[in-house]
């Protein structure tokens, strides 16, 4: 999985935001606010990552058990799919 072209991650006044540009605006004309864990996962997905790798990375970085990590990653990926922000490689 990888973040599609045309979703730009920015840091603004200490916050993590994502702006869709180009054709993506037709699907979502707005600004996405990411909290710390979402930003962490987003940046991993910019490079490309599988769901399993994301779960492992989340557990590594944050104080969270496997069950929680699995749920959080699944929910996040679902959100991204709804935004049409993910391309499956």
């Amino acid at each position: 999985m990888k973040i599609k072209d045309g979703f730009i991650y920015r840091q603004v006044a200490g916050q993590h935001v994502v702006i869709p540009v180009g054709e993506n605006i037709a699907d979502f004309n707005g600004i996405v606010n990411l909290n710390e864990t979402a930003a962490f996962m987003w940046l991993k997905l910019q490079e490309g990552s599988s769901q399993e790798q994301l779960v492992a990375a989340l557990q590594n970085e944050f104080d969270v058990d496997a069950q929680q990590a699995l749920q959080d990653v699944a929910a996040f990926v679902q959100d991204l799919r709804e935004l049409k922000a993910i391309a499956d490689e």
Partner: protein, 374 residues
Amino acid sequence: MNSIVSSPERHPVSATFELTARCNFSCKMCFVRVDEQRISQLGQRELTAAEWISLARQAADMGTLNLLLTGGEPMLREDFEEIYEAISRMGFYLSLYTNASMITPRIRRLLTKYPPHQIGVTLYGASEQTYNRLCGVSGAFERVIQGIRFLHTLPSRLELRTTYVKDNVADMRAIRQLVAGIDERLPIINNFTISNAVRGGVADPISHRLSPRENVDMVFNNIKLALEELLLKEMRNPRTMPAEKRKLMVNENPPADGYLSIYGCGGGMSFYTITWNGRLIACQTMDEEGVDVLKESLSTAWDVYPLQVVHPEPAKACQTCLWQTECASCPALRKAETGSINGITPHHCKIAELFYNRKLTDQRRQGETHEKSL
């Protein structure tokens, strides 16, 4: 040497890029338009595409999120497409202002591929005659309508923007019907704070603006949207900003406890404008020289901007004014009208007084009606 002693947090979140102050229209009430002759007189030059693109990158690095591209008429620049395409990929929440009369097939393709998030189109009349009379152009109205129809097909948030003056106030109902005919959900933003042109602009808006009473009548009678915006508006004055521990103090100048912000708004605190000739100023309506952004860097210009702002004594009359809640004036408007950011503006004071009295009357009438129905 001047230095900032203390300051509340400043974040350059929103920017306006005034790509040009030239325009293909010559609207009588324009506050910004310059022509080639005035540009020559001012001894200034427009920025190049490369400079705008570099400034956009610097703005992004600095944490600017919202970016408005405007003019004058931005599409008048032959390099508009080059500038626009580069900037549209940088991840700004992008807005574009245009009069919609110069949307070539190439620009259509560009905007289809890279739509802005928001578009503001100025609509000055409902006929060729009005556009001719007010904006000095022929055959433009049809192009404007075609332009608006095209822009409406994009996923961008579209709004129409009007300014009512003597030459077009009679078109108000027709304009509303015209817009509703395209899409009844399209918002119409009405600007009525008109003053002198700023920064060398060549038009003479004051000669063409409505009188205070005409202005107030216009708003109350026909523009429901503007009325809703007015009722929600708070007076722009340092005293009404929320209290913060750190005040802005430059070189420990008076007042001893500093200012809550530079101008009592987000100007120079959370938003800024880059002028057509490369100066960072608080907002596009502010008649000030600002800071050169090309000499060093944009972030340096942003950092030192507060240093060159001069705060004269606040106007005593404003402190005790009865109509404060209806006052639409701000430092930029007062500067344009009087030459001082704290100057008294009889025209705009009168508008505030009339709004205040009118609303009081309406409230009393509603009260009486309510009592009668009980």
